[in-house]
Amino acid sequence: MALITCETLTLAYDTGVVASGVSFALERGSYLCIVGENGSGKSTLLRAMLGLHPISGGRLTVDPEARKKGIGYLPQHTPAQRDFPASVREIVRSGCLKKQGMSPFWKVSHKRLADKAMTRMGIDHIAGRCYRELSGGQQQRVLLARAFCATGDLILLDEPIAGLDPMAMTEMYGMIADLNREGVAVVMVSHDVSAAVSYATHILHMGKTTSFFGTTEEYLATPVGKQFARREGGSYGDWSPKTAWDAPSIGGILDVRAAPDARSVLGARGVSRDRGLTASRRRGGAASERGGRDA
């Protein structure tokens, strides 16, 4: 069975329906980016996958086996966290809650897992620091490490790069891509369409009038994809060559494909060049892989 199956799903709040008729099936090991306008129900869909939001209609199933292994979750910041006294270690360890069960203490294996997660996300040297004193990028790494502790086959990320500077953003994408390469299915809500199409294998576009699900190639070929990429592209202009995005003669596909190159341009300005190149290579790899699958 597919990892996540969604059939004519309707999601609603007291104030009204936010999304309806959402249908897709996601296989293990995929990398799905959910894009779309504000208020189109992207985060709500993520919450529904976790059982945090009730379903108003249709069907949404997550493979019970994946559920049992644990689903990693990186939620958006809550206002209370801004001045919360908690050390990095405490937060990352709380990712082992499911494994802890009803035991009141951490086992050695839980502590080791948390240490591994911190080393992996490059935050082991700040394990004792207070969360609220960290930079935005470091805070997101902490939350990613916590999600990693809870992850079996699937990790759900709700705008993991919101508010990050370009360098932190690229590093975040790199860490997420690494997870995916190891076989963890990634579902990410994002506004960053350029990154979505360079990393993801599948795109779910949620809109009030139009919606789409398919592989990244298929998405780029649709009018929606072209239009969305062109429109949203402008907002990333502050770290990419403006002209490449604004040129009206370049089609949506080209617009978007420019993104990884923009990263290596960024590298020349003193930001890690390797990451940018890895991103391009990864994109190439993913594309040929997809090509193989299509054939």
Partner: protein, 281 residues
């Protein structure tokens, strides 16, 4: 008579020993709970609930029941309603607390005026004791103390056994739910514990000064410490130390217990704020 001899004499009385035992236990619970309430943005709930408890005690006095038998269940019930109502409630949290606290204070005082208790002293004395805790701490019976011991033990056991869950639920409810923690159950337990601690703490500092016992130690600890565990431990220790000092001062200087304890906690907060600022500089 030297200070030490004076203390020795005081501690030969049962009621003084009772007051110190109960005071330590209540403060310990209040210090633990305070951290959670402050971080969950429910700082004002202590004030609101203590007024509800005051109203309930007035009703109990009029009906001739023991105050605790009415105040404890009523306060716990109101705490659960306030903390669990969530976003669906008609009136937002802080407004609901303001309404409840003014309402119960008014009803309580009115009832005490309409049906004055015949056997005890003056009305103003009764009201003053419940609002400011001026004498109630020194008039505890053996049963009161045992009730304090039992309830405090339950509260402390709750914090020790579910420490990691309480942390997760306080820091990030969404993530905790996704990790299989039954957040509603823990929120319910936290609410129930709040009700219990507030009714107990009323004995020590009275209804109006309850925040000094619950909120001040947590805030003082947060000035200086940056991890959840150190804040919780420091808050509990500060709460106990502050209350002990306050009780001793009240005993030696014959000042009202509630106000003395509150003032000590305010001074501790001032000192910790200063230390926190020095540490950052």
């Amino acid at each position: 008579m030297s200070l030490l001899e004076q203390l020795k004499l005081y501690f030969s009385y049962d009621f003084v020993r009772f007051a110190f035992v109960a005071g330590v236990l209540i403060s310990l619970c209040a210090g633990l709970l305070g951290v959670v309430l402050v971080l969950k943005r429910y700082s004002m709930i202590g004030d609101g609930l203590s007024h509800v408890a005051f109203g309930a005690m007035a009703v109990a006095a009029v009906l001739g029941f023991a105050p605790m038998t009415v105040a404890l269940p009523v306060t716990v019930a109101v705490a659960v309603l306030l903390l669990l109502a969530g976003e669906k409630r008609l009136i937002k949290g802080d407004s609901a607390i303001a309404m409840l606290s003014a309402g119960s204070l008014a009803v309580g005082y009115l009832l005490l005026n309409l049906f004055p208790a015949s056997d005890t002293g003056s009305l103003s004395g009764d009201v003053c004791a419940s609002l400011f805790g001026s004498t109630s701490m020194m008039t505890l019976s053996g049963t009161d103390v045992w009730l304090c011991v039992g309830l405090s033990a339950a509260v402390i056991a709750f914090f020790v056994l579910f420490y990691h869950k309480i942390f997760a639920v306080t820091f990030d409810e969404g993530f905790a739910t996704s990790a299989g923690v039954r957040v509603r159950v823990y929120n319910f337990l936290i609410a129930a514990v709040s009700g219990v601690v507030i009714v107990l703490a009323m004995k020590l500092v009275g209804a109006l000064l309850i925040s000094s016992l619950i909120i001040f130690p947590a805030l003082s600890a947060m000035r200086l410490f940056r991890s959840f565990r150190s804040v919780v431990i420091c808050s509990a220790l500060l709460s106990v130390a502050g209350s002990l000092t306050g009780l001793l001062l009240a005993l030696l200087l014959s000042t009202p217990t509630g106000a003395s304890v509150a003032v000590v906690h305010i001074i501790i907060f001032g000192v910790f704020s200063l230390l926190g600022r020095l540490r950052r500089a």
